[in-house]
Symmetry: C2
Subunit: 270 residues, 2 copies
Amino acid sequence: MCELLGMSANVPTDIRFSFTGLARRGGGAGPHRDGFGIAFYDGKAARFFHDPEPAARSEVARFLGAHPIKSLNVIAHIRQANSGSVSLANTHPFTRELWGRVWTYAHNGQLRGVKKLPLEFYKPVGTTDSEHAFCWMLCQLRARYKTLPPPARLDREVHRLSVELARMGVFNMLLSDGRTLYAFCGKRLSWLTRRAPFGKATLIDEDRSVNFAEETGPDDCVTVVATGPLTSDEDWTVIKPGTLLALRDGQIANTLHSEPQDAAKGVLSC
Amino acid sequence: MCELLGMSANVPTDIRFSFTGLARRGGGAGPHRDGFGIAFYDGKAARFFHDPEPAARSEVARFLGAHPIKSLNVIAHIRQANSGSVSLANTHPFTRELWGRVWTYAHNGQLRGVKKLPLEFYKPVGTTDSEHAFCWMLCQLRARYKTLPPPARLDREVHRLSVELARMGVFNMLLSDGRTLYAFCGKRLSWLTRRAPFGKATLIDEDRSVNFAEETGPDDCVTVVATGPLTSDEDWTVIKPGTLLALRDGQIANTLHSEPQDAAKGVLSC
């Protein structure tokens, strides 16, 4: 299975500590040898770093570990290929423009029959189930709204589409438009919020600690979402399957939930 | 004025030598202090490195100078802002997906009134004339062809659209879909092809030389397009205004020309 990492913050924040923990799993501590990518938002735009090389060996990952790129919204992914060959075209996160904003998406899991979903506007460049599902979501949003809708309405629509996709298999996903970071748990995803009083955190996959009290301001608020907890001495919350978190300015702005069995019947409880 | 650099090759080729010459102009030898970007194609996909920092000071540019990323098609741009603030959203090259391919574009010049051109499908993320022109070109291509047309037909259409834009001001442009690298000269653009017998080349902007005979294979063929010649001891050809070069596999596969005054009357001679 691939691993996901997302961050939402209320001040431009350096994600290197958490990314280091993730990158160690990319062919180092973990089996995810099939490339990695990371997107850093700056307003409505984002900059990307992709590498089909294992993150643990990647020169790009080493560069990112040495140079802080502060951002309010970040999506990172390390890949263990199950659908689609190892290539740049199949390396997450994927991106498209919608409503004059850069949308970014990363997924783990498998979706049976997803390639039968029709795509009107966006077409996959690679061959993964994941990119097809992303194109389908954006096609649906584009068909429904001419311009960026208010946050609460978009939250509900992203949850509805995520539940539809989750019916086809395993759908753990991170999605952002630079305003909101969406995290949908189909099976496995955890989160934590770092805010004052800040303490110490120690990576699980590498002998590295940081004292956030020395790194942050009193009003900083940062929420991190990951496939599994990255640190051993912080309180991570496991997200219930069927739940979408909408993160804005470093906090959970909205939580939408539907029981997977309800989802299977298409009944939403949000 | 911004500076452009493009490369088309028949074997994956390291562009660091030429890029070093360009990057030196990014706040070093030149006035282009307003960011840079570069796209490296791998099939239908591309990876991007953008930095709103001056290329001559950029850590990303330093990384690219130290680590070869070999590619068949490359587009690079260093910016001197004239339309749009200095920000990531306004940093070339710009990219969109069309027909399941990543399209990449960089421009220099200014286009009066270009923002009045209607955009049905693609919307700008930033505020530059350049990105608006790119969105318009892709909207036109998308409206005209449901799928990727044959090369010669697409060449003619890209030339027609380029001539339309050139009527609005200065339009020097690089555009690629991973199959073809298009180079349109509205005012200033030069090219050269490197093939056997290979010789020595010396950068104009930095005391650096390379002997391509030691770096290349006998069948390698690489064409480089740049705003101005980057080397002092090679034969660069200045492109006539109104001309589109379509580069495939390192060679000029097609040349389409219309005299600017004809272009002004909308008469094409291709």
